[in-house]
Assembly symmetry: C2
Homo-oligomer: 332 residues x 2
């Protein structure tokens, strides 16, 4: 059969554009024993993918030129030569951006769509939810008296991180990129305060005013000047969970800024870079907890769903312009 | 009786000079019950004192203008109205820069000069030794396969930190400010490699060559460009113990440099600022271990001793020019 795939045509310098992606028609072979044929249903777009477009050492290897982009995909089994899967099963995997694909039974696992909608497994019960959980619980180690600041607060990870901190009893301040997003985190997700970094002239002062007792935990998704402003408000023994640096992903020169080590030193601050894979052995426990919170209504979830396989590159580029509230996925 | 003291005349901008200090004669009152009269013997000069000369929030409060500088002092009891101390006792305290001083029995404790020379209690068995111990053991958490880099390697803390890492079986590379210091760390203190940052043109490359398996632990005493060079060589899951930033203490503007968070993030690095006081409850255990290593010869110790109370300001300023190898103290 013929299907379509999206490959990396060339590596971007700075902000990627649609021209970095090429749509191709390919012919799929016959499926073999132990394989299944899948039709993609939900495709995840995530900020970390920008890093994989570079040819640089990082926690995940670079995308290869002229090969399909890969990411989290929820798909439906349309044909099976595996004893583990039957037609109609809904599965999750780290899969190529193809409309139809043949994969080994080893590269996917079944998800239970009676527990949560299929798309949730790319968000609250998937990588972004787990990332928020481990950053807050294992690095932040929140106490009920703590003040927590979340940058990228209206993003897939930030919304969950802020709510988990609220569940722990903390005062939670979010930083986001529009008045609408600030309204959402305050009114729909229970944050105690919000800052629109695009209109706020003095973020450092705004953080200080919203955090009269200083900042104990900073969950950082964005880096750059927003982080400078938060870091200058950190308390003695504060914890910084370094989750993302989206404001810097498209910079073409090595980004420069105030040196932070003197501040970290004089205030005995812990800063920990992390990726969710570091906590793989604790995934089941975390998914269980996230599921319980979601079911009981303590944890609310929102998605931005874009429709159409051909919209995948546009959706990914949209992340860097803050087009999403909550997790962004593409439904086919 | 009349004695002499050294007060902070005005706060320095940038590098301090002798004019920031004033020598004064003062009259001491009669000593009261619960007090002792001390004669200073060894006075500690330490890089952190530069921070206390500023009027800025930090882990220890600013020195007050026209009040004596304070620091670690080993002194001899010359008169006692305390039941805890008798004439001739050798004591340690956080005390003013006075030749003779009246202090409460609560502000000092006795040291055992039969176990180690009195000056050691300002160094290997005191604040610098403990700082090295906790930075390496509690933040670095060394494994025998680790590569450890120490900046300020020939300083009071660095020499001990490097040796403790060697005791743990690590490969240890030191960065110091002269060929002589590099020779000392290699030949006398067993470091595996050394870099003279003043003559080495490409520190990043030099670190890479001496650390072919990358850097697992960075014990940072200096900050600035030397740290940039080390940080770019960090391994996945590396640990950075932020102990000092001496290269920045005298900068008059907020220092600027490459943003480090992207590197910490993509390599899941832990960076922890600390001061020795954070580990106060574990001092006895650490002093015991340091004492054992010193006694068994596993841990060598060197001091730079300057003579004369009037040399105290000069000795302190000398730290910022790298005049010391190992711990610098002033003997009166």
């Amino acid at each position: 059969m013929t299907t379509e795939q999206i490959v990396l045509a060339f590596r971007p310098k700075g902000m990627p554009t649609l021209s970095n992606f090429t749509f191709e028609s390919i012919e799929l072979p016959e499926i073999q024993s132990g394989q299944v044929l899948l039709k993609g249903w939900y495709y995840s777009v995530d900020p970390y993918m920008r890093g994989r477009m570079n040819d640089a050492k990082s926690y995940s290897p670079p995308f290869q030129l002229d090969k399909p982009i890969e990411g989290g995909v929820v798909a439906i089994v349309t044909e099976s030569k595996s004893e583990l899967y039957k037609k109609g099963d809904v599965v999750l995997g780290f899969l190529p951006w193809r409309q139809d694909m043949i994969v080994s039974e080893k590269d996917i696992h079944k998800i239970d769509t009676s527990l949560a909608p299929a798309g949730y497994y790319l968000g609250i019960l998937g990588m972004p939810g787990l990332t928020a959980y481990f950053g807050i619980m294992h690095i932040g180690k929140p106490k009920a008296t703590d003040t927590v600041v979340i940058s990228g607060a209206a993003g897939a990870v930030g919304l969950v991180a802020g709510q988990i901190a609220k569940i722990q009893g903390c005062r939670v301040i979010g930083i986001a990129g529009s008045d609408e997003k600030v309204k959402v985190i305050l009114e729909e997700f229970g944050f105690d305060g919000g800052i629109n970094y695009k209109t706020e002239k003095n973020i450092q002062k705004a953080v200080a005013e919203l955090c009269p007792n200083g900042v104990d935990i900073y969950f950082d998704n964005v880096g750059g000047e927003i982080s400078d402003a938060v870091i200058s408000n950190l308390n003695f023994h504060a914890r910084v969970a370094l989750c993302g640096q989206i404001s810097l992903y498209n910079s073409t020169e090595g980004p420069v800024g105030p040196r932070i080590q003197p501040m970290l030193l004089t205030r005995s601050v812990l800063m920990q870079g992390f990726i969710v894979g570091n906590y793989q052995d604790q995934f089941p426990e975390a998914i269980k907890q996230l599921g319980q919170w979601t079911k009981s209504g303590k944890l609310r979830y929102t998605e931005t769903i874009i429709h159409g396989f051909d919209q995948l590159p546009t959706a990914l580029l949209g992340l860097f312009k803050g087009k999403n509230t909550g997790k962004m996925i593409v439904e086919v």
